[in-house]
Symmetry: C2
């Protein structure tokens, strides 16, 4: 349950940094900047104070909902002057507690910045602000397309300065690639207020194969999507008795060509004994149903008890070894040790469940999982970032010189440290 | 000719910065670091003092040829302590004078760092040091594959500190993405000594179509490679009488499928009148011959006289307007105004030739070309970087706040400014 986690129970082990506390004058100033969008109602604030996994909970008394980059700039300028800490929040869908306040940081939500600013049909993608995760038009249009890396963002620095490098150019080699510093910095270096995303045309033909296999390793050499180890029982009639399942999606411009290639592949893996059973879908609804099997894994896990979550990059040939290793180490203390992920990318989502939070299970898992990953020169956070929960483990994947440089960049861009404090970088000694 | 350019003739309009001058003691120290690879012979130095376009010429008296990251680190530590300016040089194939010294900077060549460190067959790419452009094994292996963005580099900071974030992981979200600051910084923030590159498997089937067209604009909506306007006469019997030519390459795993798609496309553009003549090749040698038509454009231009070169990103629908505009503005003062480039990317390589270097032609071109590009919110350097020749025009594509942040990053990472001075960023007022 939500109250059983190591974070809500034990706090961060050190106190709130000496930021200012929101005053009546601050509230009046914010009301002038974002009239009617200064939220202090505790019931409304509740959803923004807790992450969706319900494991990290802050105690902010103020939620601001700007609609424009200019409003974000004015808010940050005020916070910077007043030394108020700020928690930038998008869709609050993070996995590492990076999107919620830790103490009483002012929550700056981009949920209302959810319009598509422009959409170019040809070489360019949509330019849209960052109400990430909000059920908005921007999201909807992007979700229907295989979105790629942002081409350009617009962002606001800690002191309110706006950096507008927004354009829809595909190629630009003028000066340092500043945007890259901000992408993935989890709101600790600036607040991204708009992005331009290049979207290839939606593929005309999509096929999904869902295959059971006895041996994930050999499949790893030929397929590139994800492998699930299913230990919490069959979710639907589609799941059979194989120890491993692989979901493969192909997309292209001509259904006939794609079907031919996929059928050749299936014949090959079936005749070699790699695949023991499976199903193929091209129909939109059946495709969606197969993907739901993957998308609901998190939900299934959270119903199993307390979940210890890790998101690792590992050499593909060692991807599953940690799962089998941990089953032995944890024994009956773990309900399930589940590994799934993106096989082609060497990305393992490792999940361990126990009846309730257990310091003994945690002690067995950490730092063991991180040390094991570091030995393989893997990454202790493949997709999820570091946020609040994983900030202390950055050193397992990056050398001390890199950490020092990151701290210097943080100090340069946010000298007062008001942006998303207690996140991403380890607490300084 | 080489002596006619505005750069070798007029210098940079301001003097050499107050760096130290290489002493006998420095030479002895370098001889200890890279024994036998300390070059002071003026004849050998000549090739490293001049860029391959023969337009920018430095007067360095010292070329160092390290083989390892450790040697690079020791060299930089010494230069940093002694306040010696350094010009990192790879293959010296740059277009903007970024790869050669401006005054007497020590040339640090990575030409000998040309081995493939490792090569992973499956999800990973080759890890190789940075003897870029050297006719080495590393180059050969990378050139046979469609190389993509570097996954990870290893680099050395101005003071000799090594940052080793080298790994072959596809996914890593731990901390700030430091490598991105260094990629494209043209040796002004650090010296990249090794990179890991992800290479998808070499496609089994390649087809190239070379098509003549009356109308580049409509083609732009369906093809994605490059359009050439050929104004300096036919290079071979392959070239016909069309005002525009388009080169299209398709690659895939099955020749039959690709041929079918390409033929459908050709039927469509021929029947619509978009394409008037052309040829298609799948044979390796014919494919190479068609590509040579593009690859030899620069050489053909340089034989036409003095070449004013621009490398712009523009909205695709305006891509060619600047070419026709400049033909009118320049009249008979220009021998040719040639535009070619990457249509799908909105990237125009604009080349103007005149009998010899002419301040009047240059005055008509600049700042006009940059202002025209800035009005379209384009980039004044799509691919080539800024180097020495274009450092002054960064402000046409980036706002003052971005320039200030770049200067701050340079000051943080290279406080003495010894790395590739006079490059990339505008001279500070």
């Amino acid at each position: 349950g939500p109250s059983g986690g190591p974070f809500s129970r034990h706090g961060i082990g050190r106190g709130r940094l000496p930021f200012s506390v929101v005053s009546g004058e601050d509230l009046a100033a914010f009301e002038r900047i974002v009239p009617g969008r200064v939220i202090t109602d505790p019931e409304v604030l509740e959803a923004s104070n807790v992450d969706w996994l319900r494991m990290v909970r802050g105690s902010s008394v103020l939620l601001l909902r700007p609609r424009t980059t200019e409003e974000v700039s004015h808010i940050l300028r005020h916070c910077h002057e007043r030394n108020l800490a700020v928690n930038p929040q998008g869709g609050n869908t993070g996995m590492v507690g990076g999107s919620v306040p830790v103490f009483d940081e002012v929550i700056l939500s981009t949920a209302l910045m959810n319009q598509v600013i422009s959409f170019h049909d040809m070489s360019d993608g949509p330019v849209c602000p960052c109400g990430c995760g909000a059920p908005s038009e921007a999201q909807a249009s992007v979700q229907t397309l295989p979105a790629q890396r942002p081409q350009w963002p617009q962002w606001v620095l800690a002191d309110g300065m706006v950096l507008n490098c927004l354009s829809t150019l595909r190629k630009d080699n003028t000066g340092y690639d500043l945007k890259q510093l901000f992408i993935g910095s989890e709101g600790t270096l600036g607040v991204i207020t708009a992005v331009s995303i290049l979207c290839p045309p939606k593929p005309r033909a999509v096929s999904v194969a869902f295959l059971g296999s006895l041996c994930w390793k050999m499949l790893g050499e030929i397929v590139s999507f994800l492998v699930c180890s299913l230990l919490w029982g069959n979710q639907s009639r589609l799941w059979g008795q194989s120890p491993f399942y692989v979901l493969i999606e192909t997309s292209g411009s001509r259904a006939g060509h794609d079907a031919e290639k996929l059928n050749d592949f299936l014949e090959q893996v079936l005749s070699s004994g790699l695949v023991t059973d499976g199903t193929v879908a091209t129909d939109h609804l059946k495709v969606k149903a197969l993907w739901a099997l993957r998308e609901r894994i998190s939900e299934a896990l959270s119903r199993d008890g307390y979940v210890y979550k890790y998101d690792l990059s590992l050499p593909t040939e060692r991807l599953y070894d940690l799962v089998t290793d941990l089953r032995v180490r944890l024994g009956p203390r773990a309900k399930h040790v589940v590994g799934y992920g993106h096989l082609g990318d060497g990305n393992l989502h490792l999940n361990v469940t126990s009846e309730a939070f257990s310091p003994s299970v945690l002690g067995t898992l950490e730092p063991y999982v991180y040390e094991w990953t570091a030995e393989q020169r893997g990454s202790v956070s493949a997709e999820h970032g570091l946020g609040f929960k994983k900030r202390g483990v950055l050193g397992y994947s990056k050398p001390p010189e890199a950490l020092r440089l990151m701290q210097q960049l943080k100090a340069l861009l946010d000298p007062k440290g008001i942006l998303n404090p207690y996140k991403t970088l380890p607490a300084q000694a």
